[in-house]
Every structure is written in structure tokens, then in C-alpha cells.
Amino acid sequence: MHKIIYKKQLSDDMFWMEFEAPYVAAKAKPGQFIIFRVDEYGERVPITMADSNKEKGTITLIFQAVGRSTMLLSQLEVGEYVQDIAGPLGKPTDVEARKRVCIVGGGTGNALAYPIAAGFKAAGATVDMISGFRTSDLIVLKDEFESVANNYYLCTDDGSAGEKAFTTDKLKALIEAGNEYDEVITVGPPVMMKFVAKTTEPYGIPTIASLSALMIDGTGMCGGCRISYEGETKYVCVDGPEFDASKVDWDVLIARNAYYAEEEKEAREHICRLTGGTRHYE
């Protein structure tokens, strides 16, 4: 059982939560993920960590309450417990030996981009951060990015805050303006990451994408998180979660991630209709 020691609602459906998880915190590095299970009936859900604190023995998750498990998680309060947290899983971000990087975050992906940005900064790189959101209500971590990034570019699809632009347009503009990046790192919806990869391709800039996939154990047993990668099969849990974005078969990933979309929709409606948001414990 893992106690919740801090909770903040960042937007309508985005939450920041800090949990006691000493084993995970002791080894956690930027880019790694954990698997949580909200209670005895819950799914095993992978989420990339937003932060960790070895001294306090805590980890931070920033998540969007979109599925049944994340909705149930969002309803827990400080002092309450989540059933399981296992990790840190996956390989950490390689932050060494980069002079200048551009990080492109989309939506919730921005939360996961934050520790990556901080990791590069701590390793001595110059960090440009492009944060994209649909609209101003959804913006998260603006202050945090402003303090950690050398240049912070805020974009919204509707222009309600920052620049009215897609992240890929902004990235292209920065590259065209002569900014030279050793690497571009992208975290966000797969469709956005696919187009980030397309944007950097003509310039030959190495581009890394942090993927989320459907997963059960997260330790290299079930094989559910596999992706097609330059004709080979790779596993997000043990080979990733970060991959060369130019080699990922994005359409396969998008299709595989949507496999349980109907069941998820039903589960969400079920939560709202039957229990008004919480689970029935008999």
C-alpha cells in the first residue's frame, strides 16, 4: 500500500499526486515509468513518473483522469492509499553528452516531458521546450518549465494562450530559424509524435519518442506492449519506453493502443452512472 502525501488538481482532469514508494524512489531516473493498481480490482496501469525524491522516498505522477483507473485514482485524497506501485521500469532517458536539445510535449505528455527536461538541464544541456495544448484551460506546469528550460515556447491549438500553433509548426520554425539541436525528444499523443518525427526527418535530427503502450506486467513477460520497429518487434516495457521515432510504425502503435477503447468507454460510463464516481465495495 502506498500513501498519498500530496495532491493538486492542475486542470479539469489533470492531477498531480505524490506517493510514498521508497523502493521506486531510490532507483528512479528521468524517463522511467511505474505500474500502479488502484485497488484489488484495478488494472495494472503504466505511467511515466513526473518526479521522484530519494530522500523522502516518494514519487510524483501527473496524470489525466481519462480511463477508469486514472479516474478512480484521481478521487483518492491525501492520507489515502493506492494498492500497488511497482518500478522503476523501463530504461531511463539518455541525457548525457547532449549540448542542446528540443523537447516537444503534447497535452498530458508535457507532464512526462518535465523530468526529461530537468534531467537534460542537470546534465548540462541547453533545453528548448515546446509545450502544446488544445486550449488554455488545459495548460500545466508552465512555471516549472519556465524555470527549467532555457527557452520555453507555449502553443495552443486555438490560440487562447501562447502562440496559436501546432507543436510541429513551432519545431519546424525553430529549426528553420537556425537553431541546431543534437536531439529532439517528444512525448505526447502518438499522432503528434508521428508528425514530430516527420518534421525532423528532412533535417536529419535524431528524434526520440517516449511511448506508452498497453501493458500488464511491465517486466518483460506478457508481450502486450510490443511495437513494430523498423520491421522488428520491440517491447516498450524493457526495450523502451524511449525509441528512435523515425523507426516506429506509428499506425500499428495507434491501432494497438485503441484496442480496448470501447471497453474503456463503457467502464467510464459505468463509473459515472452507477457509483457517481467511486467504486462499490461490497
Binding site: 500497488d84 506501485i85 511497482a86 500488464i216 508481450g223 491501432a255
Partner: protein, 460 residues
């Protein structure tokens, strides 16, 4: 002495009833059945059955006690070498082990050793239970077990009995390894696994779940923390695929994933959140125990199930009983067929499997006749899911994070076969983490050997 040529029949659920529920298929012997079957044992002087058992259960001795209706004494004899008899009685491939060597099997059927083992363990659980099980006096010396599958549980059981302070680390949220995530409820009820684990806990074994050794903690951390010896029983790793076109389409699963959703995550029960599809038609590729488990689960989820296997019935690696049960339950077998490609629609969803017909040629490295494609014999099977049950690779999490831990050519942890000792002093290993995918009882045998070797090492 009972001259009955065949085994006393095992009461079981009717095929057309059981293929719609997840309750246990075999219902277990009654007292009368057990005594009758025990009387078939000749108690022959060579007792070849014992040498066929990886943990050397004193088979004729426990069976003699069953024949005398002294079931408690039978249980004592059984558990003197086997710490998980209720599990072994259900899942061991007895036909290749104890029963395969039984003299009664020369003319007629061998003695039903597995069924008797199960009866004795179940009888004890139902009549005595954990009453009288107490914490074992502890010698204060700490040992760590990595993984709570059959190898780890056996090793933990033997070491706690020897007085060690035993901690078991499990990566998942629940203990039991393949016994809980892999083998389905209808073959091995999870309450039995939980009971065995509870027994170990009562004796003083500590269980830490959600700790992934090689990620959350390294082997070196365990040594630094004061563990004097470590047993690695982490089981097998990533599932194997065929490397054919279409394997990453939506609707293609590894058997590990499909079974884990059902068994560990209980996706077939309404109150659990993990989703599972109710497919109309499912193709299973492979013919081992895992393939049979996946096929029979898919059947219980309501699908029409087809097993595709490239060799013939004779070469199928699954236990006979599993194959027979699968056939009775209405699973269709397409033997001497091999998938060559999986075909999907515009949404990347599986729609068909293209197969080719095979014939058997000369024996290959495994000693089985090797399957050869018959050119031009391709055909397709319409399906909405494909489950690959082709075995597993080795998990490298621990090897990658433990300096000096040598691996075999195949990527397993390299050990001394007799002791389970690895290339690092004080670190032992066994089970699928060493051999690649094998059986529960072989893993238990390895856990047992390693426990003895660890005791010897720590007694120096």
C-alpha cells in the same frame, strides 16, 4: 492388491458444462476411489517411480499409507520431500515422470500417482489445514529468494524449515508466479496456491511484492542489506513469436498476455477492471501446455477455438490429459499446419491466418521428426484473434544489472546443475530463469537442490 488394469476414473465436470465455466475440471478422488487406486500399487522393490520424480517423492511409501487409510501419515511422507503436493498432483506431467516408469503401466495403465498425491494433499487441507503450523525457530541468517513461482516457493519452503530468515521478492502484485498468472483456475484453483503461500508465511517466510529485482533493487543491494545468500527463480521472459508478417496486428496476443489477463487480472469476472475481448473465433498456434491453457480459456470466453500445430499429435508437447480435455471440450485441432502470415484489415485488425500444410521428415535436434512445408498447399482460416503459444525467451533484467553473473549461450543464468550455484559466490539460481520454459516440477526440483546447496554453503 487390486488387479484392475485401468486407473480408477477421476470424477470430473462434463465437457459441455465445464467448457462454459472456470471451475476446476477434475473434481478429485473420494476416499474410496483413493484407497482403491492405492491398492493397485505393487510396491515393487525397484520403485522406478521415485527416480522419475524431480523431487524424489517417496511414492510407494505414501501410497501404502493411503491403502491403509492412514492419510495423515501419507501426507507426512509426501511433504517430507515435496512442499507443494496439491499443486504437483494437478499440474505435473506424470506420464513422463513417475507414472511413465510405473511397472503397472507395462500392461494396462500405471498407478494414478498424481491423482493420489492430489487426494492426500486435499484431504489434509480440508481436515487439518494450517492448524499446528507454527513459525520455525529462526537462526537469524537472512536469505533472499527472487521470484515466488514454483522454484522460489520450494526453495523458500526448504530454507525456512532449516531455520533461515527467508524473504521472497515478487515483481507482481501477487505471489505465485506462473501458478497464478499462467495456469488457469480450472486446472489449478488459485485458492490452493494462496493456501500454500499462507502456509509458508505462517512458518515465517516474509513476502515482499511489487519489487522488481534488477529494477527496484539489484542483487548487490540484497547482499549489501545483509542477505547472506540469494536464490534467483525469476522464471522465463518475453514470449516468442514466429517472425512472420502481421504478428503485431491488433488481435494477436502472446499466450502469456491472454492468460495473464484472465488468470492474474481476472478479466473474465465482472468486478475486475482489466478488459478482455469476447472473440467469436480464435486461432491458437502451438501445442504445449500453455497452448492448451490458452485454447481452453478462449473456449470458456465463448469462442470457437482452433489449434494450429506444425507437427502431428504424437509430437504435441502438452500433457496427454490436457490434450484430451481440450478435445472433449470441443477445441478443433489442425495438425501438420503452420501459419505463414497473419492478414489484417484497414484498421490493422486480424481477419485471417494463412497456413501451409506440413509433412514430417527426418528427426531434428529435439529428436522429433522435423516438419517440412508442402509447397502450394497454402490456405486461410478466418479469425478475429490469434494467440501465439510458442514458448518464451529468457528475461535479462537481472543479468543486465548484476556484474559477473555469467549467462548460458541461450541467455539463461549459467549454473552448476547439481547445486544451482552461479558464477557469483552465494548466488544460486534455478527454474526457467536457467533452463528456459520448462515445467513446474522441474523448477521445484531446481529450487530444492539449490536450497540444499545454499544450506551447505552457509554451514561452511
Amino acid at each position: 492388491m487390486n488387479n484392475q488394469m485401468n486407473k480408477t476414473p477421476m470424477p470430473q465436470q462434463e465437457p459441455n458444462v465445464r467448457n462454459k465455466n472456470f471451475d476446476e475440471v477434475a473434481l478429485g478422488y473420494s476416499r474410496e476411489d483413493a484407497v482403491n487406486e492405492a491398492q493397485r500399487c505393487l510396491n515393487c522393490p525397484q520403485h522406478p517411480c521415485v527416480s522419475g520424480c524431480p523431487v524424489n517423492v517417496r511414492i510407494p511409501e505414501f501410497i501404502a499409507k493411503v491403502a491403509e487409510e492412514d492419510f495423515d501419515a501419507a501426507y507426512e511422507i509426501l511433504t517430507s520431500t515435496n512442499s507443494l503436493p496439491a499443486i504437483c498432483g494437478r499440474v505435473c506431467p506424470q506420464e513422463n515422470q513417475c507414472e511413465g516408469k510405473c511397472v503397472r503401466g507395462i500392461k494396462g495403465e500405471p498407478v494414478g500417482v498424481g491423482r493420489l498425491e492430489r487426494f492426500v494433499a486435499d484431504y489434509h487441507r480440508e481436515t487439518v489445514g494450517h492448524a499446528g503450523v507454527e513459525a520455525v525457530a529462526c537462526n537469524g541468517r537472512r536469505v533472499a529468494i527472487v521470484g515466488s513461482g514454483p522454484a522460489g516457493l520450494t526453495c523458500a519452503g526448504d530454507l525456512i524449515n532449516l531455520g533461515y530468515d527467508v524473504t521472497v521478492f515478487e515483481a507482481l502484485h501477487k505471489e505465485g508466479g506462473v501458478l497464478v498468472y499462467g495456469i488457469p483456475e480450472f486446472r489449478l484453483p488459485k485458492s490452493i496456491v494462496a493456501y500454500e503461500i499462507e502456509g509458508l508465511a505462517k512458518k515465517g517466510v516474509k513476502f515482499e511484492h511489487n519489487v522488481v529485482i534488477g529494477k527496484s533493487l539489484y542483487i548487490q543491494d540484497l547482499l549489501d542489506d545483509g542477505f547472506e545468500a540469494v536464490f534467483i527463480g525469476t522464471g522465463a521472459g518475453l514470449p516468442m513469436f514466429m517472425n512472420i508478417e502481421g504478428e503485431n496486428l491488433v488481435g494477436v496476443y502472446s499466450a502469456n498476455e491472454y492468460l495473464t489477463r484472465i488468470n492474474l487480472m481476472k478479466a473474465y469476472l465482472d468486478e475486475y477492471d482489466t478488459p478482455i475481448k469476447k472473440h467469436e473465433k480464435v486461432v491458437i498456434v502451438g501445442a504445449g501446455n500453455v497452448a492448451m491453457d490458452a485454447a481452453r480459456c478462449a473456449k470458456r470466453m465463448g469462442a470457437e477455438v482452433h489449434v494450429v500445430y506444425r507437427r502431428s499429435r504424437e509430437e504435441m508437447p502438452a500433457r496427454n490429459e490436457e490434450i484430451e480435455h481440450a478435445e472433449e471440450e470441443g477445441i478443433e485441432f489442425h495438425l501438420l499446419n503452420n501459419p505463414v502470415r497473419i492478414i489484417g484489415d484497414e484498421k490493422n485488425q486480424v481477419t485471417k491466418v494463412e497456413c501451409v500444410k506440413m509433412e514430417l521428415g527426418e528427426p531434428d535436434a529435439s529428436g522429433r521428426r522435423s516438419p517440412i512445408e508442402i509447397p502450394g498447399s497454402e490456405f486461410t482460416i478466418d479469425t478475429d484473434a490469434v494467440i501465439m503459444a510458442l514458448g518464451t525467451r529468457l528475461n535479462t533484467l537481472i543479468c543486465n544489472t548484476t556484474e559477473g553473473l555469467e549467462q548460458t549461450q541461450k541467455g539463461g543464468i549459467s549454473v552448476d546443475e547439481e547445486t544451482g550455484a552461479t558464477s557469483i559466490e552465494g548466488i544460486f539460481a534455478g527454474g526457467d530463469a536457467v533452463t528456459g520454459a520448462a515445467t513446474v516440477i522441474k523448477a521445484m526440483g531446481a529450487g530444492k537442490k539449490a536450497a540444499a546447496a545454499m544450506h551447505e554453503y552457509l554451514s561452511k
